[in-house]
Symmetry: C2
Subunit: 332 residues, 2 copies
Amino acid sequence: MNTPTSNNTPLGVRNTFAIGIDIGGTNTVFGIVDHRGDIQYRGAISTKKHSLVEDYIDELYQAILPAIEQVGGVDFIRGIGVGAPNGNYYSGTIEYAPNLNWKGIVPFVELITKKFNLPSALTNDANAAAVGEMMYGAAKGMKDFIMITLGTGVGSGIVANGNLILGHDGFAGELGHTIILPNGRQHWGTNAKGSLEAYCSATGVRLTALELLENNKEDSLMRNYAKEEIDSRVVYDCAMQGDKIANEVYQFTGEVLGKALANFIMFSSPEAIILFGGLCKAGDLLLTPTKANMEANLLPIFKNKVKLLFSELKEADAAVLGASALVWEIKN
Amino acid sequence: MNTPTSNNTPLGVRNTFAIGIDIGGTNTVFGIVDHRGDIQYRGAISTKKHSLVEDYIDELYQAILPAIEQVGGVDFIRGIGVGAPNGNYYSGTIEYAPNLNWKGIVPFVELITKKFNLPSALTNDANAAAVGEMMYGAAKGMKDFIMITLGTGVGSGIVANGNLILGHDGFAGELGHTIILPNGRQHWGTNAKGSLEAYCSATGVRLTALELLENNKEDSLMRNYAKEEIDSRVVYDCAMQGDKIANEVYQFTGEVLGKALANFIMFSSPEAIILFGGLCKAGDLLLTPTKANMEANLLPIFKNKVKLLFSELKEADAAVLGASALVWEIKN
């Protein structure tokens, strides 16, 4: 057995480690994490490259193996935690994930347990991020909070009484698909009209910008870009330069998000709502209208009580940390 | 010490009992409940009569005392559970209940514990009904369900992972006040526009009937009643006689309720939603449009999975049973 190069403590008191894996549509990132939440080794492979999940797991194994050796070998690894889109904690399967190559129901935990010969657990990526935030981030010590990820899509992880709400089938927490403006904008994937994700994702922000530019004759810095170029980053850059219509995009996005958050608060009365993901770069541009609309739509007993916070974890780290945290919950 | 008249088993194996108290705006009902959920003794007093909570508790004590003696005296009572509007489990207080005479924050558990010299616990009435349903009714054995009470108002009790969701402050589960149709009908009490309660309570049904009658020139049995007489009972009677507009009232009520339930399902993915309260008398008139609209607004992964059920408990019993069930949770 090798000994970890970075650790000279005697064998008996040496920490064990957990592997955290975050499967995104494009890339998969992983880390070897110690009990304190420090990521000792990091790595990444392409998710998209493999049309067969078995080939993907083979490459993942080859990529992680050197890191496992670095911490002293497989005997020092307690297990593997995975965050994946449409990941189901109860069944250990990835089910009909629209952004992954592997179709149908993939028995991911079974496959990875066999390959690595380590106990494994899996949940969806937003739940994993919520667990990461609870153990190591802005929700440390909280028993009731909601994490909302504002990225390509809108995901969520809900914690109540100190536990993830998974629901009877493991699919709880699809807050991005709740309808906030009935008969509103049609979602490009689900066809539902007026869902949170249709407005408060990167795509939603882009669509709002295009709509406002079309319905408005005023000058805008955004008119210097071709329609195809306008995305949430362009909106941000223009808003920061004081562009009025770009600022209205955030105003409207915050209005929809604030209304949604008010409804969520009246469901589970969380201590905090933690915002996470690419759109958070907008900072107060998004936070100010969101908070105002959230408060305006709350019953008096909920007003001015719920913290609205940005994640304290690096985006890349949160999901890996959260996934790794699942390991400490696995019953051996 | 008296012995229970209805129980001839020897002292050592005799059951202990729990007192369940359900505080309504008009009346308070109570029962002495055994461990199997059988209500051994029942009674009621007026809630409205007393402007001082201390006087109310005095009368409650006098009313319950004979029943306590009937089961063998206070030594056979394990404790008291209370369901009350705006009841807070964590603090044991009733806070700013709009339909009660006692204003501000009432330290109800403290007062009742002192008077009865028994451990006591309190939660809101909808949560108590949910616990009753979980222990003795349609949700028996379920770990994830939502109970919606459709009465004078719309209340809710949410169970996830086998526990009530109380939130960080004890006020979770105000689903009646979530906004389902933004900028819709203004609520008579909260002034919010488009909340579930504005449509799916008895008052909401009445207002929908009045609106449809006004915006519609067609004949209707409901036109035989004066405006002030039209309430949810009249709507029901006319709908049962085949009245078209009365049927449209249920169609619309079910549309709003179904949309709301779809959002709730995407939050906590419950095994079932249990409907409870006066409006449930409408049976399929309400259930059919509700279910159709619920399913139509769900993501595919949730479709045709969630049971939509009516409560199996008598309305009067559910809250008393649920309140009494809190007693078995009290740590002595």
